[in-house]
Symmetry: C2
Subunit: 393 residues, 2 copies
Amino acid sequence: MISKKMKPFVANNSAVRAMFEEGNKLREKYGADHVYDFSLGNPNVPAPKEVNQAIIDLAQSADPALHGYMNNAGFEDVREAIAQSINKRFGTAFGARNLIMTVGAASGLNILLKSILDPGDEVVTFAPYFVEYGNYVSNYDGVIVEVEPDTATFQPNLEAFAGKITERTKAVIVNNPHNPTGVVYSEETIEKLAQILEDKQQEFGTVIYLISDEPYRELAYDGVTVPYLTKYYANTLVGYSYSKSLSLPGERIGYVVIPDEADGAAELHEAATIANRIIGSVNAPSLMQKVIARCLDCTVDLEYYDRNRKTLYEGLKKVGLECVKPQGAFYLFVKSPVENEKAFVAKAKEYNILLVPGSSFACPGYVRLAYCVSYETIVNSLPAFERLMENYR
Amino acid sequence: MISKKMKPFVANNSAVRAMFEEGNKLREKYGADHVYDFSLGNPNVPAPKEVNQAIIDLAQSADPALHGYMNNAGFEDVREAIAQSINKRFGTAFGARNLIMTVGAASGLNILLKSILDPGDEVVTFAPYFVEYGNYVSNYDGVIVEVEPDTATFQPNLEAFAGKITERTKAVIVNNPHNPTGVVYSEETIEKLAQILEDKQQEFGTVIYLISDEPYRELAYDGVTVPYLTKYYANTLVGYSYSKSLSLPGERIGYVVIPDEADGAAELHEAATIANRIIGSVNAPSLMQKVIARCLDCTVDLEYYDRNRKTLYEGLKKVGLECVKPQGAFYLFVKSPVENEKAFVAKAKEYNILLVPGSSFACPGYVRLAYCVSYETIVNSLPAFERLMENYR
């Protein structure tokens, strides 16, 4: 009864569901405290108290416009306030005209891709990568092109990159800080990447948009700088989400930025605003738009994630696991001690440790750990990792 | 720079924007009180006070799960509560398993269509109809098939309907109560429509889903009954929204129902849940899901709309305009006194009256009036209509 395009998703979903149910069975059998579930990228640090206070204040105002329709691009005052906040932080010169409020970054990427992709157009991204990129590109009959990973640093593999760009390349998606590796792309990397794109635009006489997916922008540690990409490459489009910075993943609130400098910026802004309507989002949730505008200087408690990061990284190193030390997001991407990382994931499960195989990110031989869990889970998991690793000595 | 598919939307959008700006110019010149804007289907009656109270109570609870991810189908307790509420009102037997919470009805229709349509599949709908249906169908490369209107009653034209169903017909979309006519489909109509679909399923050996788009379900007057379509035809899928019933259009909260009786119900539920993720919605806004579950017995002040309806209908009749008396939604669909209704719309603008041409709903010769405006606007508009109609005597 279902469409050909959806059939493989449904078939594959039973595997995901099976994994999820196995986790539940472990929790039932051993108790939730004795299962070390690193499989879910679901923020465990609560939203800052300012968020709930803003919700209360707005609901008490009972302004009828609070729950009403607005321009499909979002409330103008909210877009202007966010633009000014970005400008203050990154020295940009955006205004409300450059932003569209979206139903999370997922809708943001979708409205950008719908606006620019013709069937067969190519979108390049760097392995390992978030599997939904492929699905979003496929929504518009585009083709995802993977660049093989540089496993030494997990910075984008720029040599391989240049060879993947063709006349059909319409966009490149980067994710910074990065899921699943936690790596932050350095300014040097960004500058080289921008230069390659400039050269290729000239070589082919095309426009190549760089889509920067930034849900983890605020989750950066060790004082590292996360470059703002519009400053390095004119055809940069940004997708942002408050899911992680304010721990609001269920609320579906984010935005895209289309700078004036981008080719066809005004037309693209109009197309993406219409796409917001046509894909069914219509607009970002109205109350949450207003809440965000009151919480622009807030973030979740980053110290919590940072302690988790250090403890888990050091703990895993001690038991002999290898991993590029992450400076952002809330993930560690660990080299499997055996080539077939799915076997390692299965073995880990015997020790009540739940991991995600790198194959799910187009990067076999590695596993992803999401450390957005309680600190106790991390501390308690370390002896289990110790016992797990005894199998590989 | 933008995709071929989006180009006509952008081209057409400038006409919409021009209309909107003309309205603003009129308001600037004559004052908002002297412009009678019937062009927007934006609820003007505020959300019930219970909604803002539920928002405050939930935010005060500061439950960390309030803003978190959940199953892409939505919170199970919310789905179960809504299912029980539907069961109580309509004698159905739904459970959480039959519902998916969605980013408004627009996302709901999109996830259903994405789940069932292969390129070239046909979706039948009855003119006049909401123009977005065509866009949603086109998102999945389906083909919209229009049934010509029965302008005597604006009930669906069932004779013409039977001839439009082919082997490629995958779905039929109905909208009850109806935008733009305000008509409520009678039980007799629904029974005949169901019989035609049963016969055609048998004739072609196919499954044809009846998608009932019901954002106006609660907006019914004169004690009229709005039949619950799953009781008349097994392959019925329902799309619902709280945009009108609770005046929350900006919040993007609704659901779809996939009854157990529908062909392939479990697989379809799974596909539509995955589609919710892939189209970029991911899930319906989490706080609003919980709010809805606390406001299941609330509706906006229907008396306000009803008074508007009666006053405008009687007033227009008095000046010689013809219209099927609407029993639902907040629209009147009025016969243009001249064949070219766009000329009538232009003439009306000279009297500061803003209308939408029926061509925008695939039904030229008529105009739509949205009476979700202040009562004063309606009362004050009647002398302007009187003067307008002097042109046609």
